[in-house]
Symmetry: C2
Subunit: 331 residues, 2 copies
């Protein structure tokens, strides 16, 4: 497997990308990574690392797409950016996948325009992995913001793609597909979800019906299908609440005197464990499903470990031919 | 102020409703409550309580609308239910407000059909109060499920109503209105929020722009405006995450051995404090805004304290003429 790594554009780039790539090839000896970005800078970072040189190459690219760039403009104009160079290489065919931490909109636009959509897919979907309260169990959400004002048929496509992805990424045999709605009852929903509900019922997928947002992290569904606007709200609400909960506990401990402080000290590992459990750093990035090749987006703040994990994840998805299976599912 | 209390339909009814009403009149000597429901049952409960008899009456109603009832059918057919009798009394004019814990859909339908909408309001909105991480600060969300597939003009109405409500309920002088979207930037959103954004900009309200769901409980906005489908997802995601977080901590403690157990014991008050802070039991129920009279919906699982708080809340909203001010705002 040959994975391209867009080494620029994230908060900790290029260091995190380069170090993550080296960790990945050191862990997986049949993996080849292609680091895309300013060659001199990447070489400088590599000089201090130990790895098998046969597993790595550098593709030079002088420009960088930043988060301030307009996605369409950036893809059109920044031809020598690490992202556009990497996307072109991916399209040309010698590579199996791409990992990037850059501007999400640009990556989506670029992947769609350069690498192209799978035949029959209307729009690519941004699909993150979210943790659940069940040990070792994860849920994916399609879509979380790539597409707003979806049509019902798009939600059905998201479900088909999510089903394929879940089988490959987590080995789930017959993924449970839930439709995010404002009530679990079949008659609940808006115009979009009511129509999508009917399509999903007839899809042949393991459709478990409507689910409520209280179940975002309960593990009730393997694949949560929704309009990107709603998915974005749902995961950000979960994220915000998790963060604020920790803030409240910290504030409570501060106010709670010595007893609370000792309690917090003794409970530190447990709370850290909870925080780690709700983090996806070691689980993988968000896949762009519906693109002809594997594209994985890691969080903008990714350090070397999330990068490593995303690179291994991209290699696995490519190895399992997730894109090919999605293409078949669309026929 | 004369407040009707629908004493049936909730998990802990009629006991919680009757006890809550007595707590309310014992606390507020110029308050009059009218308990609606089966007279003999209510009398039996009152027999054990001490209160000023001049502050209380019973209105007999033999039937009950349950959560299994179809809202429209129930309102049309269960004419002698505590909810329908209370709504009719409210409409007839001698009473200032109503508190109910019954079937939300039926209450919305009944309030709209019987008590009627304020002139110029397209649809009533269900507006809960949610806690924030800022001490003593609360946010309201308009709407959380009463209305799906909203028009942009409805979101503007929600904002006007939320503004009036926030001023009365929490004394906020110039409430900050945030529009829930998939990004804080002005250009982010779906077709609905983009158009609503423009309307809100021109509304004369203190519109702070788009907010993300990470800010549901951060206190960044006083009033969060959204389509009911999205609001429902956002508050349920927050609710679910809070609950699951506690579950994870408990599981972590269980697995963490003696050290974690002692830590949890010492931190018990702090964690309980966080839980209490994220609860709205002592803050108030959800208001039905856009109805000609004050209607407050308490949670189905409400015990006597949430009932008392909701009754006092309804009295305050009525005293502040929130419905009258909303009516003026619609012109």
């Amino acid at each position: 497997m040959k994975i391209l790594v867009d080494c620029f554009g994230g908060d900790n780039c290029p260091k995190a990308a380069v170090e993550g790539a080296v960790l990945a090839i050191n862990e997986k000896k049949d993996l080849f990574v292609s680091l895309v970005g300013d060659k001199a800078t990447i070489e400088g970072l590599l000089a201090q690392l130990s790895y098998n040189k046969d597993q790595l190459e550098i593709i030079d690219a002088k420009d960088v797409i930043t988060n301030d760039d307009n996605p369409i403009m950036a893809i059109r104009r920044k031809k020598d950016s690490s992202m556009v160079v990497a996307l072109n290489k991916l399209h040309e065919g010698d590579y199996d996948g791409l990992v990037s931490t850059g501007n999400t909109g640009a990556l989506l636009t670029g992947a769609t325009l350069i690498v192209r959509l799978v035949d029959g897919v209307q729009r690519a979907s941004l699909v993150p992995i979210i943790p659940t309260v069940i040990e070792g169990k994860y849920t994916i959400v399609c879509d979380v913001g790539a597409n707003v004002d979806c049509k019902p048929s798009m939600l059905k496509e998201f479900a088909i793609m999510g089903d394929v992805y879940m089988r490959s990424a987590f080995g789930v045999e017959n993924p449970k597909i839930g439709l995010l709605s404002n009530g679990a009852e079949e008659e609940k929903g808006n115009a979009l979800t009511k129509e999508a509900h009917e399509l999903l019922k007839q899809s042949g997928l393991n459709f478990i019906g409507n689910i409520e947002a209280t179940d975002m992290v309960s593990g009730i569904a393997d694949v949560i299908v929704c309009d990107g606007f709603d998915g974005n709200i749902a995961i950000k609400a979960v994220e915000g609440m998790a963060k604020n909960f920790m803030t409240l506990i910290k504030a409570g401990v501060k106010k709670g005197g010595l007893k609370a402080k000792i309690g917090a000290l003794l409970l530190k590992d447990t709370l850290r464990g909870v925080k780690k459990k709700m983090s996806t750093d070691e689980v993988g990035g968000a896949a762009l499903l519906g693109i002809q090749k594997v594209v994985v987006k890691t969080h903008g703040s990714s350090t070397e470990i999330p990068f490593k994990v995303a690179i291994l994840q991209a290699a696995k998805l490519a190895n399992d031919d997730v894109c090919g299976i999605i293409a078949k599912g669309m026929k």
